[in-house]
């Protein structure tokens, strides 16, 4: 009964020191572990920047060596950051539209119907990846069939089995996006590529490089995170059928359940910032040009804010979590991600299958001082109709 559990490896360090240390490729990171500190540092973009010269450095593990394209708006600071975001903000709210939600519901319903027919399902590759890829066609507003290409890339676009970062694999995505941009230039449509190519920015059009920077981020930011949420959700309901029953009877709780599951799973463990001038974080010195990280996963278990932080409380009323980040860079894909999870839960609650875990291989992140289970490398389950 504990396969779906995600423990909190940060508790001791969070209480005693408030920070953790991670040595990443010789470029150490001081991890902020308390909710208030994480929020404050996320807000103070002048002291803790995202848009420095060293592209890829705010990601942990650092992507400096494998990437030289700036991800937009992620690696840009205000005020420019806001100008870029203004170009895409409305586009990323489209998941609130009825038509979008109906299409998403159909996609997820047909996937769940399919796995219900199978003897056993490997959730990561046979459910979460196709679900994430198909849903992304809605977000980009491109044909459904395109998802097959992305599914073919496998679960790890930037990582391979034995190395945390893999430049060759990332190149597949970069080449693909280059080709899609050229296609949209030749034959503009109503997809995100075309919208970006047509957008006005500071009195000019976006460059191909900038469009690429937005698209890479959209692919990268929304892939592992969504796959993680879907897989962990299936594991959770396998071990908590009573929760699924409750959500069937009380669908009005689903919105709160979505927030609570995202808090509990915290699919993105942390994100870095570069310190611009000598300062202190949580009473520890932080030198100019060193790195800190905002540990969303630790902040989301901070017992000074969350009662019973290590429990999933489906209808948690006060839930000021930072799983989607905080302040300027808060997740642009959150509306889409929330809608996916809401729809998945609605479809699952409706069918109420019995889900049994047959085999699970955990995905443990190595954060040096901490080892954090983020989810699964593989999860074999069986879905059975109970009615």
């Amino acid at each position: 009964m504990d396969k779906s559990q995600l423990n909190d490896p940060f508790e001791k360090a969070r209480l005693e020191k408030g920070i953790g240390h991670m040595n990443d490729q010789g470029d150490p990171v001081q991890m902020l572990l308390r909710l208030k500190d994480v929020r404050k540092a996320a807000h103070q973009w002048k002291n803790f920047q995202s848009g420095g010269e060293d592209i890829g450095r705010i990601v942990v593990p650092s992507e400096e060596k494998i990437r030289d394209i700036r991800q937009i708006p992620f690696e840009v600071d205000p005020p420019e950051h806001g100008e870029y975001r203004a170009l895409v903000e409305a586009w990323f709210k489209r998941p609130l539209e009825d038509e979008y939600q109906e299409k998403l519901h159909k996609q997820i319903q047909s996937l769940i119907d399919r796995v219900l027919q199978m003897d056993s399902v490997e959730v990561v590759s046979e459910l979460a990846l196709p679900l994430q890829s198909r849903a992304l066609t809605l977000l980009l507003n491109i044909p459904y069939e395109e998802a097959e290409t992305w599914i073919g890339w496998g679960t790890h676009v930037f990582r391979s089995e034995d190395t945390a970062l893999d430049g060759d694999k990332a190149n597949i995505l970069y080449k693909y996006i280059d080709a899609q941009i050229d296609k949209a230039i030749a034959d503009p449509g109503e997809d995100l590529y075309s919208v970006l190519l047509d957008a006005d920015f500071q009195g000019r059009k976006l460059t191909k490089e900038e469009v690429k920077g937005v698209m890479i981020l959209t692919f990268a930011g929304g892939r592992d995170t969504v796959i993680n949420v879907v897989t962990n959700t299936i594991a959770y309901f396998a071990e908590h059928p009573e929760s699924l029953n409750r959500l069937k009877k009380e669908p009005e709780v689903i919105g709160k359940a979505v927030e609570e599951l995202v808090r509990y799973f915290s699919p993105l463990t942390h994100m870095g910032r570069v310190v611009t001038a000598d300062t202190h974080v949580c009473e520890h010195a932080a030198k100019a040009n060193s790195r800190i990280s905002l540990c969303w996963a630790s902040a989301n278990r901070d017992a000074s804010v969350f009662e019973q932080p290590n429990e999933v409380v489906l209808d948690r009323k006060m839930n000021p979590h930072v799983a989607f980040g905080f302040s300027h860079h808060k997740c642009l894909g959150a509306t889409h991600a929330r809608q996916i999870l809401k729809t998945l839960i609605t479809v699952l609650a409706d069918k109420s299958p019995e889900i049994s875990i047959l085999d699970a291989k955990e995905n443990i992140e190595d954060l040096d001082q901490f080892k954090r289970k983020v989810g699964f490398n593989s999860l074999h389950v069986q879905f059975k109709y109970t009615t």
């Binding site: 979505v258 804010v305 839930n319 000021p320």
Partner: protein
């Protein structure tokens, strides 16, 4: 039915009515511009920030500590700031005027 008036950033005045749920839900259901309610009302997104008209501040009451921590780091915070998802609709709020903060 309780009457609530919102004034948006563009100075549009909209009066709507409701009898249950939170002020944020009422605003979202009536597509009040500037109130998105992204997190559904669990105090995690601050996209429901309003300024309460001073004369109503007493009936509305002050924010809780958790809400206050959220407000502190949001844009345009004043002593009249509240997250509208944390204000349940009730009779005593009838006639209240709220300015959308962002």
């Amino acid at each position: 039915m309780v009457k609530i008036t919102f004034i948006t950033q563009e100075n549009e005045t909209i009066t709507v009515e409701g009898n249950s749920g939170s002020i944020m839900e009422l605003a979202v259901n009536n597509t009040i511009k500037g109130i998105d309610g992204d997190c559904g009302g669990v105090c995690s997104c601050a996209t429901c920030h309003v300024h309460v008209a001073p004369e109503y501040m007493e009936v509305v009451g002050p924010p809780s500590e958790i809400e206050n921590d959220m407000l502190e780091l949001d844009d345009n915070v004043t002593e009249y700031s509240r997250l509208s998802c944390q204000i349940p609709l009730k009779e005593t709020l009838d006639g209240i005027v709220l300015k959308v903060a962002n």
